[in-house]
Assembly symmetry: C2
Homo-oligomer: 120 residues x 2
Amino acid sequence: MSAPLNADLFDPFCSHRMPIRVGDKWSGMILRCLEDGPRRFTELKVPLKGVAPKVLTETLRAMERDGWLTRTAYDENPPRVEYALTELGRSLLGPMDVACAWAREHLDDLPRIGDRTHPA
Amino acid sequence: MSAPLNADLFDPFCSHRMPIRVGDKWSGMILRCLEDGPRRFTELKVPLKGVAPKVLTETLRAMERDGWLTRTAYDENPPRVEYALTELGRSLLGPMDVACAWAREHLDDLPRIGDRTHPA
DNA sequence: AGAGCCGGTTCCGTTGCAGTAACCGGCCAC
DNA sequence: GTGGCCGGTTACTGCAACGGAACCGGCTCT
């Protein structure tokens, strides 16, 4: 992680407070998980606490479709599938770092969890 | 506007393609509308093509609650209400510029409108 | 009296993101 | 043959965001 939040970046509640979002709820965290190299499905499930496999699959498929990452299935047993960032996906890390820096700087101004009925 | 997209930034379809979002659907556009000074309700409705007054009210209230802008009602007739950025709101323009720059650079890699069933 | 302006509000409906729970096929080890 | 691992899929549900249409009060202008 090149510019982590002080708060746990991989806590999904964090993205509720974060006014700048990359993609949908989990895409940003997935980008962070992949920046140091390819990872497989179960390796992503662990740091992304509590993500439902269905949602993770959907998100990964959408990111693949949009050219942010590649999916490589190896014909082994047990099966192995690796997800890796493309150049386009990697190019999103820059803007993400800026957003994270903003968030770190204004952490105290961010709404407290639970305060909000309408998102911002 | 300090870093506009080539595409019409105030076309809501644009935000469907944009993988980096500030706040909800309209917040980013509202920030842009206010960066050159305060504006009133109807002055916001015009550039934000087709926003329902209800949604605009909700969004402005949420942005006020989160400290991004201030709402000032003058006791005149016809009524006048002015919305102005706070320092916090203004501080979001920087990250937004970065996101817009990214989008301009990768405009051709962004998914075509209508291609998507699942968002990114 | 009637119409218009401003800044909304109310009602109702649709869409889609996200989540839970359960299940699957193929292979392996016990 | 039973259970576990991996990488999912399917069916069902909930909720928040978003939107369209209609309406409102207070005032002014004609």
